[in-house]
């Protein structure tokens, strides 16, 4: 196996007709050396050129000697930093992240293990079980093959993001990717490919949160391999623990070993999004239900030793309708403020300007939602925390929605529902963080008795507060812009 590994680089060189870069390309090699040092590599990879018609770049080799293969058309244009640097940074990122070893490690680990029984059977001349074993091996190899491809696809995103981080900005790599060859062949080819599509890579570069840890194929292949592994492990454990107290626990021990693999594969990737929904959405729904249905339940007399027979009634106002109206109206005000800024400032003129606008969106909507929550906490004693959660989350979500709607339909930006959702999520998450800091205020009003607060009053005061918050954010932003 080791011998095969040592031979692979020479085989790749011969098969791909690669040739070493000559002295006349010393400038390109020097630049690769500089970029390698920036990437944290102890020594730069050796530059190889592909035949003139080839357009692909890749890295291969062994830990003590890596090769960087670039299209000749790109190497001769090495002075074009906008083209050369992002591609080289991307390939160096693969080396830094040990993707080359990863690409071969699967087979290094799997092939000897799978071949061992065959070698053993051949040594004892007992080949009767080989046919049955071989088709199982084929299934396992198929599963491994799929997992390996998926892992390599996901490593492309990592290399892109690392390259973008090193150059300080994602735009140069994005520009090069837009000129990359697009994959053809539909979903089946994408499923089998080593690479994500150009569109997917561009999407992740623009919004790294889109990187998904586990796709359907990942889950399928991982679960298949784990399911195959489980009975094997169980049987092995039974043999090992026969006659010991552990024998009756072999199923559980096997499950403890295999379970985390499946769990990690499924959970670790798309962690943040589901956590967000798992925690925040039920919290908001529960609080909305509490606000809607709040009342004092009769306490059984046997539960307490007290002379009192009458209990104060709970406050019923403001109801859920007014709480939601307060949030939506305040969110609309935030959107109007952002729209006024857009009308006065005009189109963004640069990427930095666009990022600044996006931060202004977030700041305005979050400030408005926090002010609304604050007004609710102060105005509504005891149940202010629950009502404030409903008004705040609806203000942040409505603000995000209205801002996106106006930006898309009034100003002609691209309709991207994922962007809408990620913006709203960011606003709600930031508001939630601020709201946790505000929550202790509810203790200040806790000694006060339950008291109905008219919904109209809450809405009016909250909207006034939201308007002032919008002015406080958008006004200075406009003033600073003019300065």
């Amino acid at each position: 196996m080791l011998l095969v590994l040592l031979v692979i680089p020479a085989h790749v060189r011969r098969r791909a007709k690669l040739r070493a870069a000559g002295e006349r390309l010393a400038g390109a090699m020097q630049r690769i050396g500089e970029l390698s040092r920036e990437a944290g590599l102890s020594r730069p990879p050796r530059l190889l050129l592909r035949p003139a018609g080839q357009r692909d770049a890749f890295v291969f080799g062994l830990p003590w000697r890596y090769y960087l293969v670039l299209p000749t058309a790109m190497v001769v244009r090495w002075r074009n930093r906008g083209l050369f640097d992002p591609v080289v940074r991307h390939e160096l990122a693969h080396l830094r992240r040990h993707d080359v070893q990863l690409a071969t490690a699967v087979w290094i680990a799997a092939v000897p293990v799978l071949l061992a029984p065959i070698v053993g059977a051949a040594a004892t001349w007992d080949l009767s079980l080989i046919p049955m074993y071989l088709w199982r091996v084929a299934l396992v190899m198929g599963g491994l093959w799929l997992v390996r491809r998926q892992v390599l696809r996901s490593r492309e995103y990592g290399a892109d993001l690392r390259a973008a981080r090193q150059s300080g900005y994602w735009r140069p790599l994005s520009t090069v990717l837009q000129h990359a060859t697009n994959q053809r062949g539909g979903r089946w080819r994408q499923f089998l490919s080593h690479h994500p599509t150009v569109a997917q890579r561009l999407g992740v570069l623009a919004d790294p949160g889109r990187v998904r840890g586990a796709s359907f194929a990942d889950g399928l292949a991982s679960a298949f391999l784990a399911a195959i592994f489980l009975p094997l492990l169980h049987n092995t454990l039974q043999v090992l623990t026969t006659g010991t107290p552990l024998f009756s626990w072999t199923s559980q021990i096997a499950a403890i070993v295999v379970g985390p693999f499946i769990g990690l594969a499924i959970v670790l990737g798309p962690l943040l999004g589901p956590l967000f929904h798992l925690i925040l959405v039920p919290l908001a729904v529960a609080c909305a239900a509490l606000v809607w249905r709040r009342r004092v339940l009769p306490v059984p007399r046997w539960l307490i030793d007290d002379e009192r027979t009458a209990w104060p009634a709970a406050a019923r106002e403001p109801g859920l309708g007014f709480a939601l109206l307060t949030g939506v109206a305040s969110g609309a005000l935030a959107a109007i403020g952002v729209t006024v800024y857009r009308l006065v400032a005009g189109k963004p003129v640069s990427d930095e300007d666009s990022i600044g606008r996006y931060l202004l969106w977030l700041l305005t909507a979050v400030a408005v939602a926090l002010v609304v929550s604050f007004v609710t906490l102060v105005l509504v004693p005891r149940s202010g925390a629950a009502v404030g959660l409903v008004t705040g989350v609806s203000a942040a979500a409505a603000g995000g929605l209205f801002i996106n709607v106006l930006n898309t339909f009034a100003f002609g930006n691209i309709l991207d529902l994922r962007f809408w959702l990620s913006t709203m999520e960011a606003m709600v998450a930031l508001w939630l963080f601020g709201y946790l800091l505000l929550l202790p205020l509810t203790l200040a009003t806790w000694p006060l008795p339950w008291r109905d607060v008219p919904g109209r009053l809450l809405t009016t005061l909250s909207v006034i507060g939201a308007g002032l918050a919008t002015l406080c954010v958008v006004g200075p932003a406009l003033t600073l812009r003019e300065v």
Binding site: R19, G22, R24, L25, L49, P51, A52, G53, Q54, R55, D56, A57, F58, V59, F60, P71, T72, A73, M74, V75, V76, R77, R79, L83, V87, H90, E91, H94, D99, V100, A103, L152, R155, E156, V176, H179, A180, T181, Q183, S193, H194, H195
Partner: protein
Amino acid sequence: MEDERAFIAALTELALERAAPDELVVFEETAEEYFADPQAALTAANQDSAVGFGLELAMITPVALAVGAAVMQALVTALSDRAVTGVSGVLRRVLRKRTPDPADIVLSPDQARYVRQVALDRARSLGMPEQQATLLADSFVGAIATAS
């Protein structure tokens, strides 16, 4: 055959000084590769490598060599009173600027237009973008004129 290849290479190298000077540093290797298998050199592969990065970026040299071959044939036609070897020899000498004989290779305006059109058609037929094809055709005619 060797004479023809040497002539095509010399003429193309001159044309590339205008059309794609960056590519001259690998011209010899690229020309060798082209003459070994012209079709393979002209066909851009679209393979999905192990850890790869596909770029929509092509070398002009292989296409320019193919155009150079067409230009040589056009010159033979334009100067049809000479044998191929004779034309090649004269032009190669001129291109090397050893024993220039402008009278032998100076093209009339019609001949120059004809050569340019052949170069342009060949570049287009190989899928070269219009702007690049025009620049390359002009470069070939310019190379001949400059050499003479």
